[in-house]
Amino acid sequence: MTVRIQLLTEPFDAADTLRTFTDALPEAGGVVSFLGQVRAGGGPGGDVEALELRHYEPLTLPAMQALGERVMGRWTLDGLVIVHRSGTMLPGEPIVLVAAAARHRRDAFAAADFTMDHLKSESWFWKREKAAGAWRWIEPREQDIEDLARWL
C-alpha cells in the first residue's frame, strides 16, 4: 500500500513520479493516472504565458490528505498518489498528477476520476493566468460543480 500526497512549490516530473509509484506496486493489475498541465496556446485573453496557483497553507495540504483518506476508504486500492503544484508555472509544466492503482480496473478509474473532481471543486487553490502581460483570476466553472454532483 502506497499513499503519497504532496503539495509542491517546485516543478516535478510526472512521468518519473508515476514510474516510481507503479514499480512499487507489482501486485496492482491496473494504474489509472490523470496529469493536468499548463495548456500551451489560447485562453480567453490570448496565449497563456504563465499560470499561478495560490494556496492557503493551513488548509490546503490537510484537505488534500483528507481527500486521500476518503478515496482510500471508498475504493479498494493498492495505492494512491496526489501531487499538486502551487506557485507560478509555465505552459507545458505539470500542475497536478493523480494516480490510483488497483486490482480491478473500474476501481482505479473511478478513484482517479473522483479525486480529480474533488481537487477541482473542493481543494483550497486559487488560480490566475497571465495573458498579454496581464494576470486574471480564474473563476470556478459551472462544469466543475456539475462534475462533483456525479458522486452524490
Binding site: 492557503y56 497553507e57 493551513p58 480529480m116 471543486s121 486559487w126
Partner: protein, 82 residues
C-alpha cells in the same frame, strides 16, 4: 491588540495585498465593518468562506464568531484549482 487578515484569490487584488494587520475587533462582522466599503462587500458575498487560525468556520455566515487578540482571519473565495 491586533488581528492578521489574509485575502485569497481575487480578494487579494481588491485588498491590495495578500495580508494585512488590523486593529483588534471582537467579531467577523466588526472586522468587515472596518474594511473599505468595496472590500467589505466582496468579503461578505454569499460564496465566501472564512477560517480563523486555519480552522474553517462551518458553512457561510458566522459573522458573530468571537475573535481573540492575534487571531489570523482568512477570507476564502470560491476555489479554482487543479
Amino acid at each position: 491588540m491586533a488581528l492578521q487578515l489574509v485575502f485569497l484569490g481575487r480578494l487579494e487584488d481588491l485588498a491590495g495585498s495578500g495580508s494585512r494587520e488590523v486593529a483588534f475587533a471582537p467579531s467577523l462582522s466588526a472586522v468587515i465593518a472596518a474594511l473599505e466599503p468595496q472590500l467589505a462587500e466582496a468579503v461578505s458575498a454569499p460564496r465566501i468562506r472564512y477560517a480563523v487560525n486555519g480552522a474553517l468556520l462551518p458553512g457561510q455566515g458566522h459573522f458573530e464568531a468571537d475573535l481573540r487578540d492575534g487571531d489570523e482571519l482568512a477570507f476564502l473565495p470560491p476555489v479554482s484549482g487543479g
